[in-house]
Symmetry: C3
Subunit: 425 residues, 3 copies
Amino acid sequence: MTTRELNDFLTLTGPGTPMGNLFRRYWIPALLSVEIPEPDSPPVRVKLLSERLVAFRDSQGRIGLMDEFCAHRGVSLWFGRNEEGGLRCPYHGWKYDVAGRCIEVPSEPDESAFCQKIKLKSYPCVELGDVIWTYMGPPEIKPPLPRFEWCAVPQASRFVSKRTQECNYLQAMEGGIDSAHVSFLHRYDLRSDSLHASKGAELTRGTDVRFDVIETAGGMVIGVRRPAGPGELYWRITQWIMPFHTMIPPYGDNALNGHAFVPTDDENCMSWCFTHHPTRALTDHELEVMRNGGGIHVTLIPGTFRPVVNKDNDYLMDRTAQKANRTYCGVKGIAMQDAAIQESMGPIQDRSKENLTTTDNGVIMARIRLRKAALAAAEGKPVDGLDPETHAVRSASIVLPEGANFFDAARDTLKVRTGVEHTSV
Amino acid sequence: MTTRELNDFLTLTGPGTPMGNLFRRYWIPALLSVEIPEPDSPPVRVKLLSERLVAFRDSQGRIGLMDEFCAHRGVSLWFGRNEEGGLRCPYHGWKYDVAGRCIEVPSEPDESAFCQKIKLKSYPCVELGDVIWTYMGPPEIKPPLPRFEWCAVPQASRFVSKRTQECNYLQAMEGGIDSAHVSFLHRYDLRSDSLHASKGAELTRGTDVRFDVIETAGGMVIGVRRPAGPGELYWRITQWIMPFHTMIPPYGDNALNGHAFVPTDDENCMSWCFTHHPTRALTDHELEVMRNGGGIHVTLIPGTFRPVVNKDNDYLMDRTAQKANRTYCGVKGIAMQDAAIQESMGPIQDRSKENLTTTDNGVIMARIRLRKAALAAAEGKPVDGLDPETHAVRSASIVLPEGANFFDAARDTLKVRTGVEHTSV
Amino acid sequence: MTTRELNDFLTLTGPGTPMGNLFRRYWIPALLSVEIPEPDSPPVRVKLLSERLVAFRDSQGRIGLMDEFCAHRGVSLWFGRNEEGGLRCPYHGWKYDVAGRCIEVPSEPDESAFCQKIKLKSYPCVELGDVIWTYMGPPEIKPPLPRFEWCAVPQASRFVSKRTQECNYLQAMEGGIDSAHVSFLHRYDLRSDSLHASKGAELTRGTDVRFDVIETAGGMVIGVRRPAGPGELYWRITQWIMPFHTMIPPYGDNALNGHAFVPTDDENCMSWCFTHHPTRALTDHELEVMRNGGGIHVTLIPGTFRPVVNKDNDYLMDRTAQKANRTYCGVKGIAMQDAAIQESMGPIQDRSKENLTTTDNGVIMARIRLRKAALAAAEGKPVDGLDPETHAVRSASIVLPEGANFFDAARDTLKVRTGVEHTSV
């Protein structure tokens, strides 16, 4: 039973909150590399864990991510001039380097020590996998860099997108963990979307489905089994890596897909979408489908990261398509089906009204792990998911003999093995 | 004097409020029958007394009105699939019948008792007069069905519409009770709108108007008299039936009109508009006028119940028409004049600043009756307006000899008499 | 250091606040004369210091500014009929004169004393300089009329506009006091906008600029000096007159410019823009430029006072123009640069996070003066800026010998001298 207090504990991530402090222990996807494509390109606004920040790339290509507002009189540095090694406030010309240090206050004499006292809150950044990651926690415990496979493959093997979602990160992430909904919410799309169609076992529904959840060092794996051929079971295996990464099981020849659900503020999150293939470049067909909002990706309103299909237009609900079994919930596209359903729960789902069942074991376990980790972080103890080794995992779909322990039997397929294709049927 | 406390008492109708508890003793217009036109048609969202609900018609044509959100993980059932005798949540396929009972949880074994424990809050519904009514109170004291004449006449004799209004129900309803404003706000429309034009006595203004308010078993009647021929008075008689029904006096040959002002939440209400003729079908002319937003009806934004003319466009204020005495307040159409004026008071009018006068006696009496009934309901005592006999009344316009008590003289005309036309001059 | 308490003290101006009480001691620009152009023209809504008011001009041309809502049942008098010496509520015909006195309640007998008891809150108004000014304070201490030069010159010598700004008045006004930002924020516009181009000394930047702030009876003058010819300094002198008037220094042959920053509510203000020439009519060129949003004026959304360029469209940020040094902050136009920067600080800037420097002396002094005056007002003591003599001042730009005290040397040029041109180089 999730009380309202526990719900707050799990969902609120602003400065000073227990879960916020936990999230600040990890490297966090902050923005796409292409958002600040080149030295001295325009600064962009970034909101992370309820903090308003500005990101820019300086003349040397270094990345800055710092307080959005000038330390002088509070002007947004989004209006700033990015030039000659720093970002300059347009009001009185104060200039900051990528570490948030004030390096020029034009009104003060050059010999003045004034600007040495001025420093904006600033967070270190790294670029990995076409994404700019940041670390917002105490410098002395900054963890090693993330080692997700999608970050490591050649750029041609990867497609990354992000979209805003108008709800708390937790209900979005729980959708990513929750394999059970696929057979319902996405039922008719698994055939129609070429990036999800499987040549292998069909998803079936009902009481023949079983869920096994196994805790791992960095999070957990969730195995869902369905009847396959005689004496065989078809397993779909999802990864969850602390604190907000999920990897969904692949279909047939298709690439691997994963998400990160990063809190923007308590009532909004950024849904990051990662597609990659471990051993080959993505095909033109795959890229075209994804650029057109297929697979786990969506079509965005130009100049924004908001989906064209959204709450304000009732997700372009199509009752005819729903009735005709072309979509299960009337919304088109796997990603927007998830978003619509999750946003419909309200900005922050009231979990005190839930009724959980056996298929929610993954969701329950994730909440327990997050809570434990937040409590550990509060006491200065180690937390899981910081070790890059725990990131080097894969999801899988596989047929195994009845009676096999999926985690033991599929152990190798759940690890990143460079040069070895993923397991998908 | 209406203190702020009393204002809250009278205006707030959410769960647990005294006035909310009172309203939950009555059958309430919830939605139009055509909103869920046929078995297995799409579910619709309904908000009533600050409760978010979903309505649907099952395969057998039975109507369900229940909590909008699935008991499992809180998804809106508006996205639900209405099929085979129930509404199915699109997330994991949980299914509910019209009583809100969970009848299938696909992940649980068939023999499981799990879903028998799951039940959504649900309210009984009936269809009367092309309207779906619901009862949101304790089952053991459910009253008999409403018996308003507009519900009972043949469909061809009736025209029903509804429109959202962006203010508390009480200030909308007080406009319906308040005959005194007609000679001002609607002055120039009573001639130009064929459904209100009277061949009889002209409305006059000023000090020649008198108001008599008489309490009845189900509410009250308000008689407004103006000078007519020598030794005669022209009476316009309004009905108010507990808790939110009004019937406005007719003009000449025209049909009867009434309203119900149903709280959506504390700052919004649904203005229901009922036109009917007791003894004949409505004419093509009448229907065409009403469909085009004439009489008490308005033109709506397609796909919504929001008027095209609304707060966001300043009600298409036309100062030229106001100056030229084509409209009194610059807004076109009787219904939107009422809505504009009532919404201009703010989401909830602050009645502590009012200065009431003799023509407000009806309004004052209605507040007293509502307050008394809410206090009675809180003590488990009977409340007025539940007896269907009290619904079987009519408004009237009539010329009576000077000195006559209008209530005695017009007693018969104020009752529903099947097959007998209403009284209107 | 501005604590949060002091920030509240300085920024909140609603009824009963210390700063609100101070502002209510002064004549305040309420609306443009052309908003209510002639007798019996339509009433308009006016919000001042968080009070919702309605303004109208009666049949005799007298101006009324009073509570927006009818004393009867709270209807907005914006829907009112302005006719025959008063504004009539459209609901029941109650009528008010320009002093807010109820002069007719149609439902009450003529001999009734009822309407004599009804009076709406109402504020006296005067017209000066194409602007309707009001006084919202205690009648017994109403000050003499304002004597700003722009009010006194012939209409042909004056151009007045106003625009809404989506932030607290104080951060807008501080921009008007703050000469230091001109060399940065407006750098590239001082050449391109013909109403600001100077034939004289160029603005330079950096450590050669010095600020002198001198307190005056009505506020202060801020002198900014930059190197000019040998042995000379170029001074730009700004006036601030209590509580919210600023006069910015002129350029070359151009006219004088000033502002008033009047609180609408705590998170919005009206930026009034005054251009005038002391000794000649404005030229067709000047008028055309200003009507097209040049100089200190902006282009407005038709039918509103909201700028076309605003927060919702990110001020039409043009990064190419910014990069190419056509604008400093990417926003076009001097006035909208100020507005964008000031609004970017948030609805009410959190001054507890500021880091002020020597060039902020004017801003600091204004805060001190406002605080002192508000404390004096609270004790019933005299406050500065009420004496019309203190309004009769000018800004200036002037070249003075090195070593001269600018205030003494420019003393004459800082006063209004009828028939004598202002000093501008």
